[in-house]
Subunit: 415 residues, 2 copies
Amino acid sequence: MTELEKQGLLAKEAARALSIATTDVKNRALLSIADALEENMGEWLKANQQDIEEAKRAGMKESLLDRLALTPGRVKGVADGVRQAAALPDPVGETISENVRPNGLVIRKKRVPLGVIGIIYEARPNVTVDAAALCLKSGNACILRGGKEAIRSNLAAEKIMRGALQKAGLPADCIQLVKDTSRESAQELMRLNAYVDVLIPRGGAGLIRAVTSQSSVPVIRTGEGVCHVYVDENADLDMAASILFNAKCSRPSVCNAAECVLVHENIAPEFWKKALPLLDQKNVVLRADEKAKALLGSRAESACEEDWDTEFGDYTLAVKTVKGLDEALDFIARHGTQHSECIVTKDAARAERFLNEVDAAAVYWNASTRFTDGGEFGLGAEIGISTQKLHARGPMGLEEMTSWKYVISGTGQVR
Amino acid sequence: MTELEKQGLLAKEAARALSIATTDVKNRALLSIADALEENMGEWLKANQQDIEEAKRAGMKESLLDRLALTPGRVKGVADGVRQAAALPDPVGETISENVRPNGLVIRKKRVPLGVIGIIYEARPNVTVDAAALCLKSGNACILRGGKEAIRSNLAAEKIMRGALQKAGLPADCIQLVKDTSRESAQELMRLNAYVDVLIPRGGAGLIRAVTSQSSVPVIRTGEGVCHVYVDENADLDMAASILFNAKCSRPSVCNAAECVLVHENIAPEFWKKALPLLDQKNVVLRADEKAKALLGSRAESACEEDWDTEFGDYTLAVKTVKGLDEALDFIARHGTQHSECIVTKDAARAERFLNEVDAAAVYWNASTRFTDGGEFGLGAEIGISTQKLHARGPMGLEEMTSWKYVISGTGQVR
């Protein structure tokens, strides 16, 4: 048995105990984890400092160093996140439906944990705790495989959390970190069907594609977002400019940010008069098709085919002029990633068509794509945003981290 | 572009049209398919006859020939199944939840089709129509990849169904058969992420394992069932014998049949007095552990380790003696396939523990495992029985063949 298979077996056994733990016990464990993180903050920060120094030596970029770094304020934030998880309703045990059959069998559909959740992520040590807390609250054991740059931070967090679990009377093996951060360990985790029920990759498009294509464990694909804002002929153009500016510029690195605006040709000159001054505030680079280029002149670069399928992740926006709703719908069907799509219009019938016909996790009428988020949707917290249609779509809250079982009571019925 | 990629693209386009088709249009198409199958029965039977002859030449076993064969009665049954699908409620369009956020955004969670469903199955021509009908009713386009032994039957069924679709005003490409029945075509379908949203393998354990391990398209794992009946110390032994006999013998080839009985050591002699006469009616082969062998003598063979993990699929039953509930729970955790598990007992507290702690799609108290079935559960119809925890667990009805989208209406909200 390999090291990881041993971890899998222990996780599966721990999941059995955790699946029947009461809400009280799970909440006590979460509060104990939050307290322990603050009490042992020094230990966690020290380990993180070593990761940071090593990363600097290896020449890590400033923006990545920032994601890797913990501070007392960030640790407090992570601990508070764990307390919030404790305060959320427990999805496990709910009777989803009940049904008495003509033969007298009573069939209840009951919500249960998924079991063992594997999470593969990059160098963000806060994810180690955030993900473990949501798994614990939803009754799932987790196997966490973080990036090698954060290994010391992650080992320290794991130690603190496992100690707190034991204090609360739950098996420490509910939370396990993969110590080997080689590519091989990630690949082995992707084939650990015997012990892992679901794999959730959290990170860039490259990671997510690799996991999707190599995993034999069921995967929830998260994250990739090439999101569009379609400005219709009948849009309130001030609203359209404000929505586009927010969708592109409020946080361009995240998956629900807009990457492309589709502008109805009839109102394009008017629209750009409103939108350009806003986009200029952030020096947004425009990659425009020919028609838009004719309007925007030297303010825009010429778009190439690739731009329509690119998640820029920065202050770059693709610009496409369309003849109307049908062309917009076709364009989104071809280039969207089924994440978040928006129409700005005063025409309810056109909005209705857009909302019905666009195939995406979230479709918006007159609101920014940036709202696709567990907190904004009222789900309390999220483990990621699913862009697949199987199991969960859009923000995955605690309920989406569960499955169900059928519980059938009889009096000797046979078939 | 390969032939299959072309089919994928056409299926994706057809799925867009089908996703917004009304219930009436879909039902009209289903009734038109049912009528066309009966009207063109001669054509379908003739093609099937050619498959049968070819299979006989190739030396196919009698039992497999029977699964491959169509008769006028079977065609009528298939057509009636399609009419039943038309009569079921349409899951698509349902508002699952609605939520007005403090910022005024109205967020509706709406049920939508999955999109394009791929189905890989073996040589049963009725599956071609059954699966296509359920996909159509749930608004999904389908790509069907059946076994090579049934290719002529499947081509004939595809032709009849596509004609009926067009007559009803839906794109023929909602239903497509993969013409190439080589292993390579199945493997290509498993990697067709760009066009296929879900893959459902229907067939033996070998097929299902191959698809699970090779597919990058999300898979619903169906079917494998090593199901147990645990006869507790406090069981009504007549009931236990009757349930075991039914679970093992009413249809041993199916996945919800029992493969192993766990007998509490305190009542084992009494139990076998009741159970043996029933099992003898079908000459059930017993593979027993040492303790049971001591009781059963020459009536039983000695079990080997492999027997505990085998889906016999025939009149063979593994027999294990246990000291009590805990040992039974551990044994099922180790050897079960998370399909259907049963306890027979008069003790409600023990039943409660069993129902809570056993991790399976369906857990039974005093009823046969054979009830795990979409029809028996009141789901109307099923595309398969899922033994995974992601997306769907247990019988998959029309609702389990859908996803959802979030539909958000605003008045210019930005974040």
